[in-house]
């Protein structure tokens, strides 16, 4: 009984850590996510690379 209770406590604690991490990640202001999950914004900001003259690759 004691062992079962301890096991459940450890499981709950681990779950709490995982949830806290996810919440923190979601709550923290994050321009990385705001920009890179916005397809229209990526399309507007994207600049094709300027390539040197080249005839081929491997």
């Amino acid at each position: 009984m004691k062992h079962k209770l301890r096991f459940r406590m450890i499981l709950l604690a681990a779950l709490a850590v995982v949830c806290a991490g996810a919440i923190c990640f979601a709550a923290t202001p994050n321009t990385c996510v705001n920009c890179h999950t916005n397809e229209s914004l990526m399309k507007a900001m994207y600049k094709p690379p300027v390539l040197p003259p080249s005839e081929g690759e491997g």
Partner: protein
Amino acid sequence: MYKGFVVDRELLAKDPHFRTGCILCHSGDPREMQKEKAHKGLLKKPSAALSSCGVCHKEIAENYSKSLHFTSAGQRTGVMPRFSAAELKIFDEKVFEKSCRSCHASCGDCHVKGAPVDGISIGLIAKHKFVKKDEGKTCAFCHGGRVYPEYVGEYGGAPDVHYQKGMLCMDCHKKDEFHGDGNAYASKQHVKGRPACANCHKPGSETNPAARESHETHADKVSCFGCHSGAAYRNCNTCHNGHSAASPGMILGRSPRDKKILTTLRLIPTVRDTFAPSGIKMENYDQVPNYWDTPAHNIRKRTDRTRRCDTCHEKRKNFLTKETLLENGSRANEELIFVPKPIKQQTKK
């Protein structure tokens, strides 16, 4: 191409790789609104340092640090017999790390974002999902100059029969071949557990008696590719340093690694002045031929060589000859010429 930078928001909640946020791997400043400021100190390729993935994937990262996809050692091994000791030193300092090794793959190149080739990349393979494999977006991109288009039939010949049966790269090339087994091999020829036709196609299991007879007759004399390569494949005629020429062809000759075996050869792009811009003349250029044995990835069950014995034994079709040798090529090329014995009778298939 902008889609290559778009991340799937749903992944952020589900995938454990995102639990600690973006900056742990990528650095940068997520508080800044302007791109240039947000990207200050940005690590575009965090997995180039294997330690980043190695935090959780320790054994894989340790093995991979010695694998050929990471070290590109095979390229060095292939060319270095042409160098003197002094030239090898110059090559190591000026050429290998900056040029050849730029092709080495990080973890992310296979699992997250396609590797750039000549500045072009497909971007994120699946919106920043960490994929186990996606050969059409990874293998195909880096090996898209020769092997992959041969395999899928984009190079003009029929596709490889294995491709037609629904097999892709990793059906034969297992993940241990890429991740490595902890051994630092000098080249792919030394890697244990490489694909071999006989792994699936056991000699003696043929249902066609003529095929079994032919296999027995040519065992240890002709490679599988020698008879079953289905069409011409790409041969590269000059170096890739700003100028290159590739032309199709099938070349049959002695394997430079085992001259008792007749096989498909591929012209490789190392000519006498390949490394001249770095001050390397290649003093031992003629020690190594310009043709390597190649496992042409365009296999067909039936070819002109399996149908008629005289294709090789009388017509000598596609065989390397003195007349077809690369102009101003290595003197070692002549050792690869093979003249098959004429035979009187043909085996009907």
